[in-house]
Symmetry: C2
Subunit: 214 residues, 2 copies
């Protein structure tokens, strides 16, 4: 019954960040109360103020945690994440689905981070702007590298082309719930991503539209 008191280095702090990340991702930070977070972390609401000063401070700490996770996923690898590469299992060329592939490979299955990322991008959060800008840089670089290697056609408007490809990639994360519900294919699972990527690669290589009616 008695609460455990400890001078151990901030166990509650990590629990709060983890609980807040999950709840913010699932319901949004506005719809999540400090009491909800504290209850999930099995800790007193006042501990939020003790460690972070305010609810907003907790939000900042969560943002920093997420940024650190992205960084640990290997930011440098993101550049090559968009490239087409040989798929080991079946020997066919398959489009590594960019950032989605990166997230899927590097994150545990039930991770709240994709959903949190969705909210960051939706809510006009400065942290979201920063991530978008950094990833767009990676997309630009990857496209340029592929052009150089003769793997991509040069576009007349490289800036738009890089944004187009990256935004399409992000859309899969943002709308994956709708996609899974309406089509039965969930591109955030391994099998779903494989099926999705196959058709995307086909569209990107052989095209979608015809110039002249056949």
């Amino acid at each position: 019954m008695a609460a455990e008191h400890s001078a151990a280095p901030a166990a509650g702090r990590d629990a709060l960040v983890a609980a807040a990340l999950r709840l913010f991702a699932d319901h949004g930070s506005d719809a999540t109360s400090v009491r909800d977070i504290a209850a999930k972390a099995e800790v007193s609401p006042a501990l939020v103020m003790h460690h972070f000063g305010s609810k907003a401070g907790l939000k900042t700490a969560v943002d920093e945690h997420v940024a650190a996770v992205f960084a640990s996923l290997g930011e440098a690898e993101a550049v090559e994440a968009l490239t087409v590469r040989e798929h080991e299992h079946d020997g066919t060329n398959v489009l590594s689905a960019g950032f989605v592939q990166l997230l899927l490979d590097g994150l545990p299955p039930g991770s709240p981070i994709p959903a949190y990322l969705r909210r960051l991008l939706l809510e006009g959060d400065p942290a979201g702007h920063e991530i978008f800008a950094r990833w767009l840089d990676a997309s630009r670089s990857a496209l340029k590298a592929m052009e150089g290697a003769g793997l991509a056609r040069a576009s007349a408007d490289p800036e738009v082309r890089a944004a187009f490809l990256m935004v399409n990639d992000l859309a899969m994360i943002l709308l994956h719930d709708h996609i899974a519900r309406a089509t039965g294919v969930d591109p955030l699972t391994h099998d779903g991503l494989h099926r999705w990527s196959a058709d995307v690669l086909d569209a990107y290589t052989d095209g979608v539209f015809r110039k002249e009616p056949a």
Copy 2:
């Protein structure tokens, strides 16, 4: 000073829906209080309960209003909104950018509806699921029609292809703020959409990737 009382048919009702639509779109419904809405509509907070029973009732009314606007935009035309057609101004073929084009043509410039749509789709709102499913139907139909007319290559996976095209289209709305900020091209303006569509059409017809290094 004295408030105007009238038995006129619910002027305050419309004002409330309009104010709520704008505030919900800009800040999210959770972050918008009944008092904020009433203040913007220049009306008493209690009027929300009188007309809609609760804040949630207002939200439902706003959803219905938005659905009605979409319907009035011409749901039937949505089917052909994805098709490639002759552009009158410069005589070139241009991809009518699907739902985005439809919204841009049919809505007044500063309309809160695109932003509201963004929130519907990203917040897991049931109203968002419905819109997504209905539009995906339109996308499927349009793609099939284009295949029939020889304007589109047949995909091995038509279900994924239809979703892919539609999701890419929606991504432009969902991320337009990020796109505009990071690239300087805002695809929700006329000029920005033209530049964006030109490159998208190029990508969709001539492809993005090469099968073999050149």
